[in-house]
């Protein structure tokens, strides 16, 4: 063994190198406050290792970025943990950078002759922030996409060359494939490469000038090895433990795939950039450049100038004051941003919806059709369960309700003035419509001009006086009417009740029930003045009434305020289909 090491040492001088590395003098002996630099190097190494492994499975394009991350996260063995470690180590780095900076400033390690090393450190800080910013976009999910879009839009306010700068950053006029390829090259190539170069310089200069001891020294000087190494190792282990805890407990988030057509009200930068985000709120209109560039630029300039201030008699105190003011301001702005979001129902609802979409797209992607080559975003766009509520909230909820809300869980500001469509055409929904106590209530005709119409009168006068036998017939007629819809939720029940449904169909058409006095059912009736009951609540029927309620088949001239969504080109055929399917509860559900 010794011969081998001798052989190697003779050719490389490795013994001297190892000796220099391990027996660096630590003035005043090992201390916990010296661990920050080592933990940062450690986190950087962790990011290099996990990053390269992620690289092996990641595919940067707008149709494959989210999809490959989804695959890493949900299909590859251990992929979720790998991603979790990379994600939370990135966050840990930001915390450790601040701690390292604090230690350097408090201990006066920025003063002559260590100015250049201080600047190396600051440059490294900004490069790591660059890694955070570029890495946030790479999964190409809603959160990263919209947050990064905000960040790169800020580049556009650069005086004179703003639009060109923005185009260069995002690789074109719009976000797309080249935004990802550029960000990925920056994230995995340019920035880490630059960091390695600067880090070598940083450590070289650190070794050249030696460690700045925190006064007063408590113990005699000692070598770096083994006491300080042990402290550093323990600190790294603690960082790793925290990262593993967060990765296992919470995991790295992957929201729904980025959809440029579906704006995302929950877009926020990562928590460590929230202070910059908050700062922008205080600069209205064209003064944004002050909050986005000039003010942060001045602050950065001040920090860079700290070694010069440090020469003055009171300079160190000034720097300490500046450090604490900055930390306090950043903490305050972060807290304000979080507080504003917590108290903002729109943001809370958007976050909730984002979680629902994220869960849903996972269900669809692991379903039998898998992810098409056009990307996972098309799965969500064609999914009634995700799109129905959004379409309903935007187009229907100013009058209608869905289970008392707007489909997305928010109670609209406008009072309810049309029926609640949750379970439309189901047996229980129809039972309510034919209930003398409920037909004129807000959940049915209460808010409409049909409140005192023929149907309401019929239910309140005639149905209210029905005998027990007639009520039984009515129930069967309603079961038959509900069966016209062919709802997925009632498929099993209807299979069992087929005899009762056939009987009900006859009651529905009979004169005794009086339905066909106004409604058409299964045979042409030119005198019909109320909506057709043939195929009532079926997809085709819903598409008809959504498309044009003023058609003779539906309300005709009696239509209240319902817009002709199809006829007037308010919604396209796909949107109408999604809305109809959603109202009918017809969407893909995974087999348990």
């Amino acid at each position: 063994m010794k011969a081998l090491i001798d052989w190697l040492d003779h050719r490389t001088g490795c013994r001297k190198l190892v000796h220099e590395t391990l027996f660096e003098n630590v003035p005043g002996g090992s201390r916990w406050r010296y661990v920050w630099g080592s933990t940062l190097t450690f986190t950087l190494v962790v990011q290099f290792i996990t990053g390269i492994f992620l690289w092996m499975a990641y595919s940067p394009s707008s149709q494959t970025a989210w999809e490959s991350v989804y695959y890493i996260q949900n299909q590859m063995l251990g992929g979720w943990l790998l991603r979790g470690i990379h994600h939370y180590t990135a966050q840990a780095m930001n915390v450790l950078l601040v701690l390292h900076l604090m230690q350097v400033i408090i201990d006066g390690a920025y003063k002559a002759p260590r100015e250049i090393n201080f600047w190396f450190g600051l440059a490294l800080l900004f490069l790591v922030m660059g890694l955070s910013l570029t890495g946030y976009l790479l999964p190409w999910d809603q959160k990263g996409y919209w947050a990064t879009k905000v960040a790169t839009s800020i580049a556009a306010i650069t005086p004179v060359i703003g639009p060109e700068v923005q185009k260069l950053i995002i690789g074109g006029a719009e976000y797309g494939h080249h935004t990802l390829t550029r960000f990925f090259a920056l994230h995995a190539g340019v920035l880490p490469g630059t960091i390695v170069v600067l880090l070598v310089g940083h450590i070289y200069l650190f070794r050249r000038h030696g460690l700045t001891a925190a006064e007063p020294k408590r113990k005699p000087d000692a070598a770096f090895w083994p006491d300080q190494v042990l402290k550093d190792a323990v600190a790294c282990l603690a960082v790793l433990a925290a990262v593993l805890f967060l990765s296992i407990k919470f995991g790295a988030e992957l929201t729904a795939p980025a959809d440029p057509a579906d704006n995302y009200a929950a877009a926020r930068p990562e928590w460590y950039f929230l202070f910059l985000f908050q700062l922008l709120k205080y600069f209205p209109g064209e003064s944004e450049i002050w909050g986005a560039m000039i003010l942060p630029g001045l602050v950065v300039g001040l920090v860079f100038a700290m070694p010069f201030f440090g020469r003055w008699r009171l300079g160190h105190r000034f720097n300490l004051g500046l450090l604490w003011v900055l930390l306090f301001t950043v903490a305050m702005l972060t807290w304000l941003a979080m507080k504003a979001d917590r108290g903002n129902p729109g943001f809370v609802a958007a976050t909730r919806q984002a979680q629902i979409d994220a869960e849903r797209v996972k269900e669809l992607a692991s379903g039998p059709s898998g992810i098409p080559s056009s990307g996972a975003v098309t799965l969500l766009r064609a999914d009634p369960f995700s799109q129905g509520p959004k379409l309903f909230a935007r187009n229907c909820a100013s009058c209608h309700r869905y289970d008392g809300h707007d489909g997305l869980g928010t109670i609209p500001a406008d009072p309810q003035s049309a029926s609640d469509l949750k379970g439309f055409a189901s047996r229980s929904w129809l039972a309510g419509l034919l209930d003398p106590d409920r037909i004129a209530g807000t959940n049915y005709f209460g808010g409409t001009k049909f409140r005192d119409g023929k149907m309401a009168k019929f239910v309140k006068k005639e149905v209210a006086g029905f005998s027990a036998a007639q009520k039984e017939q009515l129930a069967q007629a309603l079961a038959a009417l509900s069966a016209e819809a062919g709802l997925k939720a009632q498929r099993d029940t209807e299979g069992k009740d087929s005899a009762a449904i056939t009987a009900g169909r006859n009651f529905l058409a009979s004169e005794a029930m009086q339905c066909t006095e106004c409604h058409q059912f299964r045979k042409p009736d030119e005198d019909a003045s109320a909506p057709d009951l043939t195929g009532y609540g079926s997809r085709e029927w819903l598409l008809g009434i959504l498309g044009n309620p003023k058609h003779d088949r539906f309300y005709g001239k009696r239509n209240d305020r319902m817009p002709s969504f199809g006829e007037d080109k308010i919604l396209d055929a796909q949107a109408l289909g999604l809305l109809a399917d959603w109202l009918r509860g017809d969407w893909y559900t995974p087999q348990p």
Partner: protein, 182 residues
Amino acid sequence: MKPSDIPDQPERRDFLTKTAAVAIGAITALVPAAVGLVTVFDPLRRRSAASGPVLVTTLNALPNDGKPRRFQIIADREDAWNKFPQVPVGAVYLRRVDENRVEALNVTCPHAGCPVEFKPDTQSFLCPCHDSKFKLDGTLADPESPSPRGLDTLTVEIRNGAEVWVTFQNFEAGKARKVPLA
């Protein structure tokens, strides 16, 4: 008295410190690397998708003179996160051996995986990569051929009198024995 003041203590303490430093250092470095390595071995869990018999063509499409004709196999394909319904997954040469009997050969050369081509002038299959030659029935035509075995035959069924159904499979290259890809 502090432990460091006991005369023969420091060396022992030093040893413990050194061992702990090395052990903890090793753990911190190994955990992320190990997690990454696990994902690298994920492909070993993947199986090649075996499909059942696929309708390829009809008997009418195959010449009576026994001349082979090339057909694509259309089936569902899965590629990591993507699923592609009904896309080309491979190709076969079909050859009519008599009125109602058809032979199918996978176009992939068993030597190194290049697709072979039928050469009408020599009435044989030639691999364009390393010049392996195969007879019409797929057996090796030339003992000098680098291919360790003849072209891989596939199961053919004639259904409803005229439909040609092929059970498509790929096999391990470079071996004398025909082993289906797992």
